[in-house]
């Protein structure tokens, strides 16, 4: 029997951390003024989202700009990530499937992959300037690696007998790739996409801190400069939330497309 009420254990640790945070600030465990209290953060976040209300005079430059900045960052992430997926999936299929493609492309990918996305920043600004293109380049590049590597891995993992079975039934190379290799690699591709979207959110913050003048990353750095640690913390939570939500979307899509795997897991 399923228990009627499952205690929500997952809230326990976060609640404890918030309490610890609250008292840490209240009881001055940290130097006064360095870390804002949870309440302060919540208030500033509220103002940041909804503005300070009609008729009230506001001095906060952030008032009511949350949604705009979230939209800027989200759009960049989606564009960069989409671009990365569009290039990385076919390339991963090629590297995993074709020996020549693997010999020609894979070493270059492996050689460039260890270069941290942050190290590309000056190069991106020099080439693309303080524009969106810089941010998209960094986000796309960051998301590209995990997707291409996992796609390649998924393709190479395709069951040999299943491949032979398809060829025996008359499938040519194109059909084998589309109807056997691709679906077989799809679970790995989704793993790549999940890792990729994570990197994309990291990259968008870095890029917006330096390479463009809008978005959550820009707000984060700007707030730090003017000493608004409350806004900094609110930004951290915002990015965390968006990253979590975008990951959930991919997980849902995977669950929908890979229903056959859920059956396998229960068998």
């Amino acid at each position: 029997m399923k228990p009627r009420f499952a205690p929500p254990w997952f809230v326990l640790l976060p609640a404890a951390l918030v309490v610890l945070w609250h008292f840490g600030v209240e009881l001055r465990w940290v130097t006064e003024g360095t870390v804002p209290s949870p309440k302060q953060v919540l208030q500033s976040w509220n103002t940041w989202i909804f503005g300070s209300g009609a008729g009230k005079l506001t001095l906060s430059p952030y008032s009511g700009t949350w949604l705009d900045n979230v939209a800027y960052s989200t759009r960049r992430v989606l564009q960069g990530f989409g671009l990365a997926a569009l290039v990385a999936i076919p390339l991963g299929l090629a590297i995993g499937w074709n020996r020549l493609a693997a010999r020609v492309i894979d070493p270059t990918v492996q050689l460039l992959r260890p270069v941290p996305i942050t190290a590309w920043l000056p190069f991106a600004i020099a080439v693309f300037g303080i524009y969106d293109a810089s941010a998209l380049f960094l986000i796309g590049l960051g998301a590209f690696y995990p997707i291409v590597v996992n796609t390649t891995h998924g393709v190479r993992d395709t069951n040999l007998l299943v491949l032979r079975a398809a060829r025996m039934m008359g499938a040519g190379p194109g059909t084998v790739l589309a109807k056997v290799v691709f679906p077989s690699a799809l679970p790995s591709i989704f793993t790549g996409l999940r890792l990729g979207i994570g990197v994309a959110w990291t990259a968008v913050i870095v890029a917006e801190m330096i390479a463009v003048k809008s978005g959550l990353g820009y707000v984060l750095w700007d707030a730090y400069y003017v000493g608004r640690m409350d806004i900094c913390v609110a930004t951290m939570f915002s990015v965390g939330l968006l990253g979590f939500l975008s990951d959930r979307v991919i997980v849902w899509a995977a669950r929908f497309l890979l229903r056959w795997r859920a059956l396998e897991a229960h068998a």
Binding site: V162, R164, M169, A171, R261
Partner: protein
């Protein structure tokens, strides 16, 4: 129908070349059911793979209907050791993969698929996924999709080796029924003596590596056959004869290791 002439196959293993098959000559007549019987590692699967077009001889030639084999083809349906189904497709979609890939019209292959699924006892499971089926049922799907190809040659690589004894005899009977109906030319690889004698018109006993055909025995048991035949004195005599041949080879193989 199948002509294997002077075939040898060498593999490179750790920089050394290993002779897996040596001077194999084998002719399978049209509509004949031939079992390749031998100890594990004797290269019987390699030989079957060369007829299928998955592997190629180092020397000699493999022909089917006079044509040298260059690639796998629906003309030579293969049932593998594992079911090797497409796990993301339903039973029905797995079974019609062949005709669909070849551009046959659904109106043509659908009724045929229903009929074949009925023959192999899978009616009612059309929409199930492979993961929802038992091992025996998955292998039935593997057989059904080959029947859909209407191949004149059927190649079977220890298709029931992974099944439990009970399911295995059920599948052997099923195969006998199916074969009575379609009468394809069959090359059947196995290490199970009773299975080989129950199913085949002729049993080719292979030697340990390098694999050669040690002896070819005709199985003159009346058809259609059923499982009961395994209790007959003729069957037992054949079984003892093959057992002696196999035992020699198993001991030789053990001595090599």
């Amino acid at each position: 129908m199948i002509e294997v002439a002077g075939v040898s196959r060498e593999f490179a293993k750790n920089g050394r070349s290993v002779l897996a098959l040596q001077d194999i000559d084998l002719a399978v007549r049209e509509r004949e059911f031939v079992a390749l019987l031998g100890p594990s590692g004797c290269g019987k699967s390699t030989l079957l793979n060369m007829v299928a077009g998955f592997d190629f001889p180092t020397r000699g030639s493999v022909r089917v209907a006079g044509e040298p084999i260059r690639a796998p083809s629906p003309e030579r349906g293969v049932v593998f050791q594992e079911p090797a189904l497409l796990p993301w497709l339903s039973v029905m979609d797995n079974v019609v993969f062949g005709p669909k890939t070849r551009g046959e019209k659904a109106a043509q292959y659908r009724p045929r698929a229903a009929q074949i699924l009925d023959q192999v006892g899978l009616r009612g499971f059309e929409d199930s996924y492979p993961a929802e089926l038992s091992g025996g049922m998955r292998q039935r799907v593997g057989i059904a999709r080959v029947l859909m190809l209407e191949s004149r040659v059927m190649l079977m690589d220890e298709p029931f080796g992974a099944l439990d004894a009970q399911t295995r005899s059920l599948m052997q009977e099923l195969l006998l029924q199916v074969w009575e109906r379609h009468h394809q030319t069959v090359l059947f690889v196995t290490h199970d003596i009773e299975e080989a004698l129950l199913l085949a018109d002729r049993v080719c006993v292979m030697t340990a590596r390098p694999g050669r055909i040690k002896k070819s025995l005709d199985v003159r048991l009346a058809r259609p056959r059923a499982l009961e035949i395994t209790a007959s004195p003729e069957f037992n005599a054949l079984r003892l004869e093959v057992l002696a041949l196999i035992r020699e080879e198993s001991q030789r193989a053990a001595a090599q290791i």
